[in-house]
Amino acid sequence: MITREDVEHVAELARLELTAAEKEQFIAQLNDILTYFEKLNELDTSDVEPTSQVIPMSNVFRDDAVQPSLDRTKVLQNAPEESHFFFKVPRIIEE
């Protein structure tokens, strides 16, 4: 069973500030969904290799050639805040 503390812990990991109502809703819904996931335990998978992707490829190399990069002005136009060609972020080091 997923508890209120679990939901708060996971929300913190995911950097989601949930409202009290959202937490209540997620406790109920996530429990429903996690209960449904339990059907996977009907399967014995102890000798089964996991599949993370289906293409039989490992390292994909390309030549280290210089290519045009994105236009800086266009990229920065999407920034919530920018200053002198830099992304502006909240202060992270205390004075």
Binding site: I2, A14, F37, L40, N41, Q53, V54, N78
Partner: protein
Amino acid sequence: MALHALTIHELQDLLGTREVSARDLTEAFYRRIAALDDRVHAYVTLTPEQAFEQADRADHRRQMGGSSPLLGIPLAIKDVICTEGIRTTCGSKILHNFVPPYDATVIEHLTAAGVIVLGKTNMDEFAMGSSTEHSASGITHNPWDLSAIPGGSSGGSAAAVAADECAAALGSDTGGSVRQPAACCGIVGLKPTYGRVSRYGLVAFASSLDQIGPMTKDVRDAALIMNVIGGNDPRDSTSAAMPMPDFTRALTGSAKGLRLGIPREYFVGGIDSEVERAVRTAVQVLEGVGATTTEVTLPHSKYGVAAYYILAPSEASSNLARYDGVKYGYRTPQWSNLRDMYMHTRDEGFGAEVKRRIMLGTYALSAGYYEAYYQKAQQVRTLILRDFEEAFRHVDVIVAPTAPTPAFKIGEKTDDPLQMYLSDVFTVPVNLAGLPGISVPCGFNSAGLPIGLQIIGKPFDEETILRVAHAFEQHTDYHRRKPPL
């Protein structure tokens, strides 16, 4: 028939003989959009200025002797595919003002082929949903019944094609998001093999499952679009270095000698009786054009939804960590420090279904649960893959319903996420196994809602599923019927 009702290849015939210009077509589609889209709400952004420029360029190219199967054809693009200079929102508040500084590879290919982009279509936020009810831009309605969902997550693209608000569209399919809305709206939708079409510029949901695919009025149009968008791309290291055939050459009109597998597990429990009847009748049609059928077994398909709803949200929780209010998109106006800025930006920027999946995925990947959920689901993915490998030792394609029911009513499943997830039961195994699948219209229920037939192929064998789908279409007229708008 009116211009907007025609297929790409029919329009190309008219363009080729100069009976119409690309500008005429563009005008016709915008007139159609103006007449209908306040009821259907397929589009979130229209781009007439750029579209008419593209139309004039296409007409000029043709006057200079140019021709190509997509030259001058007006398309709609799902709003999860990056279009340079055109807002790309993914149906999310967190990207409400995002203007990509580059085109996705598929858009580069389409532009080079001379298509016209009419606009961007609505979708479930970040492609998470089966109904196009989870969009910051509002819901999309099914053209066959405006009180029903169009399917999802590519519901805007499906509705735009079905309502003749474009000649064809692109969607994306992570767990059924091209095929299921195609089935709900009575059109053709193809999910290519994982790795067939570049994902560069497709906003990531679940990177090991996502594929872009065509949504069209008939099978030939799907083949024509595949010819242009497919192929290896050095910018997507998961795109495969496989030869690209001319997919239209597969459209022989015959299914002679092909072996169809009918998965036993897809016809038990939960399937609507009218859907079952339509699919079984479709199988008889295919037998009539030379195919043979055998029952096959996919014993682990009933675990597909559980495995998928662990793996896809896990990948999503990682992919969506990038939305932090720093480099692009929404940033909360109120914050006191960096952590606080992240927390509020993400809470205000994401909708309920996206938060639910981020929570699920973060939980499944968190310390103490990784093996029980994520690794277990990856092992079940292996079992599902093996089921298909075994079945394809005996058959050339697998034929099944696309969705267990026709389109349900708007609002019917929004309060019960698990019920919504179960509507993907027949499509998610195909993504988990990375296979190509196509949905073609195969009938209507008693309420007049479309039903889709799903044809699943071997890896990189889109040709055979296109061939079967096309042969079916030659002997039925479901794809030609139009919604009563």
